[in-house]
């Protein structure tokens, strides 16, 4: 039984119907316990020890997986191909980065208690108004949800109301993240320009460099991923989810049946942006930096390929895709840096041509074959017995 299911009647029911999701949640829960345990309790020379580097890397994958779920929610279930989801991820990351920056206090290079280093460097006299409030953790976490959510709401409200869809929507979401990237590269914006926000010291009073904090962040990422999965699962399995799929398959028909298509789309778009924002917020303290390159259009397209490789339209597929592709990326950029882009490019082409349902699409045929094989073997066995 999954961990959260004790007091949630309808969710329990949902999850009992979702075999693969149950397995996924179980795996994440086990990871969330085992990895920090092995990291903290076993000494470095032990075979069972998991290094902090590996744990942070796994934590990063978990954040990416949450981001992939967010994208799958709108692409796989509602047919909205957003090429700008990296923007929501980065905005959540920046909100968290601003909180971490304020936590640095007077321990920066310039030792200014009021201003972050880059502002001192740029000769700013006082904190810009939009930095106010980020001293508070609660406020920052609210912003992690609200900033991407508001952007998605405004953008989505405009786009869906005027029925911008399909390729056009993809292109303008790409333009959105591109514009944001250019904006955040500007020093005048007050977000550290090119270098972004970095040199964080601690979070909620815990030292970011210590193994304990890292383990805590890992567990938080795992919990966020599980929660994100459950939320998405609840949405997609509900009646609302049915309407979303209907919109994906035939938007005009759904509209003619009387559904306010733009409202449904807007709702799921905003939820997805918030999930992406949370993923970004958990990502930043683990990698220790947030800069405008997270807004780069290519990153947003990479997210799409995670989902496509895993299998769009199934939430656990998105998680598998994100982990697979990123593990491959880590391995290839280490071993054959030159080959990585060839491989990534090849993945794009091959998945779209030959794996329209992704890696998990490979599974049912294999399963069927196995069943058939077992049945035949049993038959042969029975005949032998007779």
């Amino acid at each position: 039984m999954p961990v959260q299911a004790t007091h949630m009647g309808p969710i329990t029911r949902l999850l009992t119907q979702d075999k693969n999701g149950r397995r996924l949640l179980l795996v994440i829960a086990v990871l969330a316990i085992v990895v920090p345990f092995c990291n903290l309790l076993f000494p470095a020379e032990s075979v069972l020890h998991i290094s902090t580097y590996t744990m942070t890397l796994l934590g990063k994958y978990l954040c990416y997986a949450l981001l992939a779920i967010a994208v799958d929610l709108i692409w796989g279930y509602c047919g909205i191909l957003s090429l700008g989801h990296g923007a929501f991820f980065a905005l959540g990351g920046y909100a968290m980065g601003m909180y971490l920056m304020r936590q640095v206090g007077d321990r920066g290079v310039y030792g200014n208690p009021e201003l972050p280093d880059f502002m001192v460097f740029l000769n700013w006299q006082e904190l810009p108004w939009y930095w106010l409030g980020f001293d508070s953790f609660a406020f920052s976490m609210l912003m992690v949800l609200l900033v991407p959510g508001t952007l998605a709401f405004v953008f989505g409200a405009l786009a869906f109301r005027s029925r911008v869809s399909g390729v056009y929507l993809s292109i303008i979401t790409q333009a959105m993240t591109y514009a944001l990237m250019l904006a955040f590269f500007r020093n005048d914006m007050g977000f550290g320009g090119n270098n972004g926000l970095t040199d964080f010291k601690d979070i909620l009073g815990f030292d970011l460099q210590s193994d304990g904090t890292r383990a805590g962040l890992f567990i938080a990422s795992a919990l966020a991923l599980m929660l994100g999965y459950v939320i998405s699962r609840v949405i997609t399995a509900s009646k609302l989810g049915r309407v979303l799929v209907a919109i994906r398959d035939s938007e005009s028909r759904a509209r003619f049946l009387g559904y306010r298509v733009e409202h449904y789309k807007l709702f799921v778009f905003v939820v997805s942006a918030m999930l992406a924002g949370v993923a970004g917020a958990l990502y930043v303290p683990q990698v220790g930096i947030i800069n405008p390159s997270e807004f780069a259009p290519i990153f947003s397209i990479e997210i799409i390929i995670w989902v496509a490789v895993g299998g769009r339209g199934s939430l656990y597929g998105a998680v598998i895709g994100a982990v697979l592709v990123n593990y491959a990326k880590t391995w290839f950029t280490g071993a054959f840096a030159e080959l990585w882009l060839f491989l990534l490019g090849g993945l794009f082409v091959l998945t779209t041509l030959y794996l329209p349902r992704g890696v998990i699409g490979l599974w049912p045929p294999l399963q069927q074959r196995w069943h058939r094989y077992r049945q035949q073997r049993d038959l042969v066995h029975q005949e032998d017995c007779l």
Binding site: S162, I172, A175, Y178, A179, R186, I301, T352
Partner: protein
């Protein structure tokens, strides 16, 4: 008869030569006297020398002006010595004698021909007059413009004489400005007023500076000078107004050339995306391939850098076009009707192409030479100097557009292309090989992207990331202009280019770009099908 003419001609040329030789001798005689003359005598000698038709007077006077004319004590021979350093070789001015300096002590053998400030003024005036009165009209105008920087260099009465006999109106105009600048400092107020009126419509920056200085010298509260003060103020205002117009013209020019670049980058996309409905994310890489083809062509024909660009245009078209056909046949063909999947697959192709180019040519930018006929600037008026290469790009982009419109409207291939995009089954049943037409159409769009690469290689760095910089802009242009509409693409590219350059001075380059992106995003909300939307059934297809 003929012999007589030849004889006469020979006589004439001989007498001309004789005159020149005589002038050189006089020049030498006068120059020799410089060594012993007093400062007053020197001034007179210089004026005399300047009147001579001798060829060598200019280098002589220039040497004198730069304090490097020496006379040898032993025989009064003149030497031009720029640096007195052991190991240098110095040359006698009028004699065929050169001499190696062995030690610094030799300097005692030479006397410098000294000049004072008055002589230096005379010299610079004479030199300036020489510059203005010799050479082609173009050279003389440049020399006259040099005088604007230091109008006091030239003697006022001589200048008036020069203006009176000047044949070229352009040179006379500049010289008139020089005279007016001189008169600006005269004691006679009526002369000053006349000078200010002459300067009224001049756009030379020096004129404006002089007027501002003059305004500083005047006292507005003094009733005698108030009128003049106001006149100067009015003149400055009118000059500023003209400058502002110039500024607009420059913005427009830069804007149009940026628009032309956008047009070139987007026009291939207008075919693949606009006509075929294929989202080709590898479009930028087609541009990049074109730019690298230009580089390769230049490497292959190092001697013909002037024509290599012209060779590169068809070469780039073929390379990018062929790659386009291969991509269409191998990947895109399987994905018609699934635009989002096409987008992803072509994005993958773009990554592969980028990495391929990076592996072959290395990650650094490659140098592509600009042929001479594209370099340099041309001047519309003194305040407005524009570069040639931008003009060529504007013309070139329009040519490509017209050519493409012609192919689509007037050729059999264009007809088949339109037929297939309008109604594929019907076109097939009329005997058009629709698969073949698809491949060629995609090849055409890619080939034109390659041509854009040739043009871009002249403006930006040729590197593996060249294409990425343009892909988003290209999509913006096509979407803004209206899909499937070449003229819409033209209007969109040009208006985005001009808007960008108009906003830039206020907001900076990056903010201008952001503002335009936001504008387009909002614009799409208002008119999801772009500026010039196709009407009727084509929209639903």
């Amino acid at each position: 008869m003929r012999i007589f003419v030849l004889f006469c001609l020979a006589c004439c040329s001989w007498s001309a030569q004789a005159q020149l030789a005589e002038a050189d001798l006089t020049l030498q005689r006068l120059a020799q006297q410089l060594a012993v003359a007093s400062y007053d005598e020197k001034s007179a000698l210089i004026s005399q020398m300047a009147q001579l038709p001798a060829e060598r007077k200019k280098p002589l006077l220039e040497a004198l002006a730069s304090n490097s004319l020496y006379s040898r004590e032993s025989d009064q021979r003149l030497f031009v010595i720029e640096r007195f350093k052991p190991g240098e070789r110095i040359q006698a001015f009028f004699y065929d004698e050169s001499l190696l300096i062995e030690s610094r002590r030799q300097k005692r053998d030479f006397d410098k021909i000294g000049i004072n400030n008055a002589i230096r003024r005379t010299l610079s005036s004479e030199l300036a007059l020489m510059e203005v009165s010799s050479g082609s009209d173009q050279q003389r105008r440049l020399a006259a413009e040099q005088l604007l920087k230091s109008p006091q260099d030239i003697d006022a009465s001589r200048l008036q004489a020069l203006i009176a006999q000047e044949s070229s109106p352009a040179v006379a105009e500049v010289l008139g400005l020089v005279a007016a600048l001189q008169q600006l400092t005269s004691a006679d107020s009526s002369q000053r007023l006349a000078a200010i009126k002459t300067l009224q419509r001049s756009l030379y920056p020096q004129v404006r500076v002089a007027l501002v200085q003059h305004q500083g010298r005047l006292d507005a509260s003094n009733p005698l000078q108030a009128g003049e003060y106001q006149l100067v103020q009015k003149t400055l205002a009118s000059i500023d107004q003209l400058q502002q117009l110039n500024g607009y013209a420059r913005d427009l020019y830069f804007g149009l050339s940026l628009g032309a670049v956008l047009l070139l980058a987007a026009i291939g996309l207008a075919i693949t995306f606009g006509v075929m409905g294929v989202i080709n994310m590898a479009h930028g890489e087609m541009i990049m391939l074109g730019a690298y083809t230009t580089y390769l062509v230049q490497q292959l024909m190092p001697a013909g850098s002037e024509v290599s660009l012209l060779v590169a245009i068809p070469a780039a078209f073929l390379v990018s076009g062929l790659v386009g056909v291969v991509i269409e046949r191998s990947v895109i063909r399987h994905l018609y009707g699934r635009p989002l999947e096409t987008l992803l697959a072509t994005f993958g192709i773009s990554l592969i192409l980028q990495q391929a180019v990076r592996s072959i040519f290395g990650p650094l930018n490659r140098e592509v030479a600009t042929p001479e006929w594209m370099a340099g600037t041309f001047m519309l008026n003194p305040g407005l100097e524009l570069t040639w290469n931008r003009l060529y790009i504007i013309i070139f982009s329009l040519l490509v557009l017209v050519l493409l419109a012609w192919v689509m409207k007037r050729t059999l291939f264009g007809l088949q292309m339109r037929a297939v995009t309008m109604n594929r089954p019907m076109a097939s049943s009329m005997g058009i090989r629709s698969g073949w037409v698809d491949a060629l159409t995609f090849g055409l769009g890619s080939g034109i992207a390659g041509i854009a690469g040739v043009a871009l290689s002249q403006l930006t760095n040729v590197g593996p990331n060249l294409g990425q910089a343009y892909i988003i802009d290209s999509f913006m242009v096509v979407v803004f202009g209206g899909v499937g509409n070449l003229w819409g693409t033209l209007v969109a590219a040009m208006s985005l280019g001009v808007a960008n350059k108009v906003i830039e001075p206020f907001a900076g380059a990056v903010l201008a770009k952001i503002l335009l992106l936001v504008f387009i995003i909002l614009f799409i909300q208002k008119r999801p099908r772009g500026l010039f939307a196709l009407k009727g059934r084509a929209v639903e297809g």
